[in-house]
C-alpha cells in the first residue's frame, strides 16, 4: 500500500499532495503524512521541486480544515435543538462548548501535527462548539505549517531510507496519540474514583 502512495507522489506530485491533505482533514483514511515524507525524500533526490509541493500540501490542509469546521458548524446547528431535548446532553454540550471556547485553540494546534489522528474530529468539534473562527484558522494554519515543515523535512533527511522512516514516524505518531488518550482517560478515571453511582 505504501508503494502505491509513493508512486502517486512521484507521478503526480503537487496535485496528489493537495488532494490527499484535503481529504485527510475530513477524516478520510488517506495517509497524507506518508506522502509528505515521500515528497521530502524525492525533493532531496532532485526528483521534484519542494516549494510547489509543500505549498500545495499546505493549501489542501488549510482548505480541508475549513471544510471540517464548517461541516461541524452546520451539523450542530441542524441538530442542536434535537440534541438539547435531553437535559444531561444539553449540559454536556454546554460544558464542551465552554471548554472548547476557552482551551480549544491549543487542541487545534496540536492536533494538526502531533496528534494528527484527532485532527478531523477536532475540526468538527471546533465548528460545532463554535470556537472563534479567527482563532481556529490561526491555530490551524500554524499547526499545518509545522506539520508540512516537519514531515517534508524528515522526508528530506531520510535520504534513501524512506520506507524505514515512514514506518518509524507512523509508529511514533500512533504512540503519541494513544498515550495522550490513555492519559486523558486515566485522569478521568482518577477523578471519578470516589464517586458513588
Amino acid at each position: 500500500m505504501t508503494d502505491a502512495l509513493f508512486a502517486l507522489v512521484s507521478d503526480y506530485g503537487a496535485a496528489a499532495l493537495a488532494l490527499v491533505t484535503f481529504l485527510s482533514c475530513l477524516a478520510l483514511p488517506v495517509p497524507s503524512s506518508m506522502m509528505m515524507l515521500a515528497a521530502g525524500a524525492f525533493a532531496a533526490s532532485g526528483d521534484l521541486e519542494i516549494l510547489p509541493v509543500a505549498a500545495a500540501a499546505l493549501l489542501g490542509a488549510v482548505l480541508g480544515d475549513q471544510a471540517g469546521y464548517q461541516i461541524g458548524r452546520l451539523g450542530l446547528s441542524a441538530t442542536e435543538d434535537w440534541l438539547r431535548k435531553n437535559p444531561s446532553r444539553a449540559a454536556l454540550i454546554d460544558r464542551a462548548r465552554s471548554y472548547i471556547q476557552t482551551r480549544g485553540a491549543v487542541a487545534v494546534f496540536l492536533s494538526r501535527w502531533l496528534f494528527s489522528v484527532l485532527g478531523p474530529s477536532v475540526n468538527l468539534l471546533a465548528g460545532g462548539m463554535q470556537l472563534n473562527w479567527a482563532t481556529f484558522t490561526a491555530m490551524a494554519v500554524a499547526g499545518e505549517c509545522v506539520w508540512v515543515v516537519v514531515y517534508v523535512g524528515v522526508g528530506y533527511f531520510a535520504g534513501s531510507q524512506l520506507s524505514e522512516v515512514t514506518e518509524l514516524l507512523s509508529n511514533a505518531s500512533g504512540l503519541a496519540t494513544s498515550l495522550l488518550i490513555a492519559i486523558g482517560l486515566g485522569v478521568v478515571l482518577w477523578r471519578k474514583r470516589h464517586r458513588r453511582i
Binding site: S10, G13, G46, E164, A182
Partner: protein
C-alpha cells in the same frame, strides 16, 4: 447516557485499557523501527517501481546525472519519472527493467573502481 452511571464508567475503563494496550503496541514498534533504522546493514537496497530516478541514484550513491544516463532516458522530461513509468513507456515488464538496472548499476560501480 448520564455521566455518572456505572455503565459509562465501565466504558471509560475499557477505553483506558485499550489505550494502554495501543500505547504498548506502538511503543514496541517504534523502538523496533528505531533499531532497524539505525542499523545500516539492514537497509533495503532493492529497487522498487515507485522510486523516481534520482532516488534510486541516491540509494546507490550514484550522482543523479549518471543515474539518468544509466536508465537511458533522454534529458527532458525526466524529472520525477518513476522506474515503473519508464518501464511502462518502454513496454518492458518492471522486473525485467529492474534486473537490467541492477546489472547496469553494478557495471557502473565496477567501472568507478578501476
Amino acid at each position: 447516557m448520564p455521566l455518572n452511571t456505572l455503565k459509562f464508567r465501565w466504558l471509560i475503563r475499557a477505553g483506558f485499557v485499550l489505550a494502554i494496550a495501543l500505547t504498548l503496541f506502538f511503543g514496541v514498534r517504534t523502538v523496533a523501527s528505531l533499531f532497524y533504522w539505525s542499523n545500516p546493514d539492514l537497509v533495503d537496497r532493492q529497487i522498487e517501481g515507485w522510486m523516481p530516478v534520482g532516488y534510486v541514484g541516491r540509494s546507490w550513491d550514484i550522482p543523479r546525472d549518471d543515474m539518468i544516463a544509466i536508465t537511458g532516458i533522454e534529458t527532458p522530461p525526466w524529472r520525477g519519472l518513476s522506474i515503473e513509468q519508464i518501464a511502462e513507456d518502454r513496454g518492458i515488464p518492471l522486473e525485467v527493467f529492474i534486473a537490467q538496472l541492477l546489472v547496469d548499476i553494478q557495471a557502473y560501480r565496477d567501472a568507478q573502481h578501476d
